[in-house]
């Protein structure tokens, strides 16, 4: 049951094959047995069971709220959840209990979803894993073998999402299959008056065709995404995927996005600038950690922020403030915005030339083992990991990771599809077709052995043919 798709589970709940409470309990016990992974910052056991109980009552009455009723969900710990600690994995917000729910959280709860808890992230989402803004829905999805969707900027409300880069952040959706992503998208998308950057147009939730047809599509292969450091494994998978589309009758052409290589450095300037600004509110006065230093307001601020933020966060604040200084603003911030425009225009030109969807790798390689991971500093790591996903954030375009195959090491590898603004239906249709072709194996979680390198028990590695 824990391996089934959202829709399968929903059907099972409706038919009474499993109850919301049973489902919830199973999830909670799995969370407990995988505690060493440190995936959850907060497990909301009590409230989850209560929500499951309420859901059960509704199912018994034959009045479920919708397809999400009783479905267990987890929410990254930078979304505000009323009554449940929201920490952003930072000392600065340790013990902080928000008085309000983020809009997306509220929407899920209104549909009857069961909130299991808050998941871990890099402090304030500032690492390769967890920066929601440079690929942190798609990157972990690729490494973990799940579907990760980053919708178009402005489609889903950011009210209640603690921001990293306001102009690039998008709530991301992680599910087992593309259909599930479409379902969740349907319940989250739409204008929110509390978020002025959401579009006004009415969003119509959609269902994907059972047997998608890609013969009419034009798939673009951006040559710049053959980036330095791309593993030969992934390169081969990418090429095979292109062939799959060709054989299905789709038009597959090579395209160019010439400013791709500037996206990381451009991102660095804009991201650190916004970070410096967004972190200015953490002063210990109204909420969050407050230092005991009380010689003066200024010294209290300084001590609070030194104690509350880690090196990465402080480093970015310093960089960002530097770029925003009057004498530097023109040369760094304005320049970066101009480069951003160029990057976005690359995509516009390609989509205007008749290409519908872009196909690229999501990551340079499969997941790097922990010991290797901690060797390089955060900036290098971000540079490496975000290179393939960042540009879509720059341009605000929708993008999705679809798990493709297992690597030689037995670790998941995915490929990315990037679509036109607000054309999620088209994007997910193509993604679903591809998912059907590759038939990525479901990961077995029931017997997870404690292992130094955190590698799960796996099936024999396979690549699709």
């Amino acid at each position: 049951m824990l391996r089934a798709s959202l829709r399968e589970v929903s059907a099972a709940l409706k038919e009474g094959q499993v109850t919301p409470t049973e489902l919830c309990q199973r999830c909670l016990s799995l969370i407990k047995s995988t505690k060493f992974l440190n995936a959850y910052v907060t497990v909301a056991e009590e409230t989850a069971l209560k929500q499951a109980e309420e859901s059960e009552k509704r199912y018994r009455r034959g009045q479920p709220l919708g397809v999400l009723d009783g479905i267990p969900i987890a929410v990254k710990d930078n979304f505000n959840t009323a009554g449940i600690e929201t920490t952003c994995a930072s000392n600065m917000l340790k013990g902080y209990v928000s008085p309000y729910n983020a809009t997306v959280v509220q929407k899920l709860l209104d549909q009857g979803a069961v909130l299991l808890g808050k998941t871990n992230l890099d402090e304030f989402a500032m690492g390769a894993l967890g920066s929601d803004t440079g690929g942190s829905t798609r990157n972990p999805a690729a490494h973990c073998g799940v579907v990760g969707l980053k919708p178009t900027y402005g489609l889903i409300s950011r009210h209640g999402l603690i921001p990293l880069v306001n102009s690039m952040d998008v709530p991301g959706i992680l599910t087992r299959c593309v259909d599930d992503a479409a379902v969740v998208l349907g319940s989250l998308a739409g204008h929110d008056p509390k978020d002025s950057t959401t579009i006004q147009d009415n969003f119509k939730p959609f269902e994907l065709p059972n047997l998608p047809d890609v013969s009419k599509f034009s798939i673009g292969i951006p040559k710049e995404y053959h980036a330095p450091g791309l593993s030969s494994e992934i390169l081969a998978l990418w090429s095979k995927a292109a062939d799959l589309f060709k054989n299905a009758g789709a038009k597959v052409i090579e395209v160019s996005l010439p400013h791709t290589r500037y996206s990381i450095v451009c991102y660095h300037v804009l991201c650190t600038a916004e970070v410096a600004s967004n972190m200015a509110r953490f002063d210990g006065l109204e909420y969050g950690h407050r230092s005991n230093m009380n010689k003066s307001t200024e010294s209290m601020y300084a001590a609070t922020r030194r104690e509350g933020f880690n090196d990465v966060v402080r480093g970015r604040i310093l960089s960002g403030n530097y770029f925003l200084l009057k004498q530097n603003y023109e040369n760094y911030f304005i320049k970066a915005q101009k480069v951003r425009r160029l990057i976005a225009n690359d995509f516009v030109k390609v989509f205007r030339s008749g290409v519908d969807i872009l196909l690229t790798p999501t990551t340079l390689s499969d997941a790097v083992p922990y010991m290797e991971f901690i060797k390089e500093d955060n900036r290098t790591r971000s540079t490496q990991d975000d290179i393939l996903t960042q540009a879509a954030n720059m341009a605000g375009l929708p993008a999705i990771n679809v798990p493709t195959a297992l690597s030689e090491r037995g670790l998941p590898v995915g490929l990315q599809f990037i679509g036109r603004s607000f054309q999620e239906k088209q994007l997910l249709t193509v993604a679903k077709w591809f998912e059907n072709q590759v038939k990525f194996p479901m990961i077995q979680l029931e017997e997870v052995k404690r292992h130094d390198h955190g590698v799960f028990q796996h099936q024999k590695s396979a690549s699709f043919s």
């Binding site: 306001n166 008056p193 950057t197 600038a273 509110r281 109204e286 909420y287 925003l324």
Partner: protein
Amino acid sequence: MAAAAAAAWGCGGVWWRAWQRGGGRCPAPAPRRQRAVSCNARGGAVLAGKSGLAPWVPVVGLEIHAQISSNSKLFSGSQVQFAAPPNSLVSFFDASLPGTLPVLNRRCVEAAVMTGLALNCSINKKSLFDRKHYFYADLPAGYQITQQRVPIAVNGRLSYSLCIDNKMSQMVTKTVRIKQIQLEQDSGKSLHDDTRSQTLVDLNRAGVGLMEVVMEPDMCCGEEAAAAVRELQLILQTLGSSQAVMAEGQLRVDANVSVHHPGEPYGVRTEVKNINSIRFLAKAVDYEIQRQIEELENGGTILNETRAFDSKLGCTVPMRDKEGKQDYRFMPEPNLPPLILYDAKSLPANMNHQQVVNIDWINERLPDLPSVKRAKLVEQYGILPEHSFTLLNEDGLTEFFENVVKQTQMKPKKVIGWILNDLLGYLKQHSLTVKESPVSPFLLADLLNLLEKKEISSTAAKQVSNRVIRSHKKLWGTAGKQITSCRNCVNAWFLNTCCGYKSVCLKVFVPENPSCCRKLLG
């Protein structure tokens, strides 16, 4: 501590300055010779320096923050209210809780457009919001949302009038250019409790909408600055875009002051803050001008600094916590799209005015501005222009005047004298507002009618009105009851100027006992 005192009379003619050397902390300019001043052709005051030294041209610009009169704040739904219990009007956004976002208040935009139109500005159909960063306890987010790059209105002008030589008979009209009007957030309030070494922060005011009106340095002295601000205040109150009461912090003025020799470039300017009334504005500006002149003539230099006006001492002092130049690290506000305004031409066919802000629609509904009102009063009642200024300057006085005119046969040209001299004079003497006047329009009209009918002489009428007004406190104490007409008593009093009768009449001059009054006086 004797304070340094400055007295200035008008800018149009000779400008004398008399200083008293004070023993206070205030670095008073030396009380030496008086400086003669005459206006140059452009109307800017020119101060003649010491003999042999070149004259000085003072330059004054103003930055005025007017709190927008609206139900809720600029970017959040919490209420706007003066003197509410601390931290009772604070939304999640105002408290800068992480994850909250700004949502623009339409009423605030309309207020800014109205004000821009009234000040003859060009309204920018597209304007932008920015973040201005600095750390302070009353700024929860660590930045203020303002409009630094492209504000909502630019390039306007404001006309105001002054009297020359302090004579009401000679008024001159001046203009000051309005550089821009921008929308921005107000900060909270911090109260320093030195006894307990703590700072108390009240965020009720944090996020309230402000219009910052920037006036170019076209003014040359305190009086001009005061007159310009007074006119702006009247305009804002007429529009209703701000109540503009300085005492409640709804109108705050910072003055930028510098001096230079004619023909030379502008001098280093200082910013003067902490000015709490229009009267203090004039004092602060004049003091600062004089201070700078003294400093420069003594071979010193002017620092580009921020100074606070100390109203008790009547001087400006450097502000300690504004040392060093601040880099505000301006950045576009990413959570607010550009503000788009429409006019009749650009309004798309399928949109109605309720969905968008339409500049033309607002323009058509602007009320009569003070200048128009004054012109109408002059035309309708045949009073002098300077009279109309005084009428509009006192809250409620125009209404009072018009009510008296309605109820009396006396010509308005004569009524105005009673209003401006007798009534207003008394009110000023006793620090009363028109609303607190013990004499109602009805009573005054009655009195004036007696005068018109020649039933009393004008001297007597003046005496009566003075007596009546002066007596109200004795009879009524501070209850402030207005004396309603008691015609018979007044009549009797005129006819009997004997002191005895007067005092008796006074004692029983009670509306509740008219019969008693009549009895005594026959």
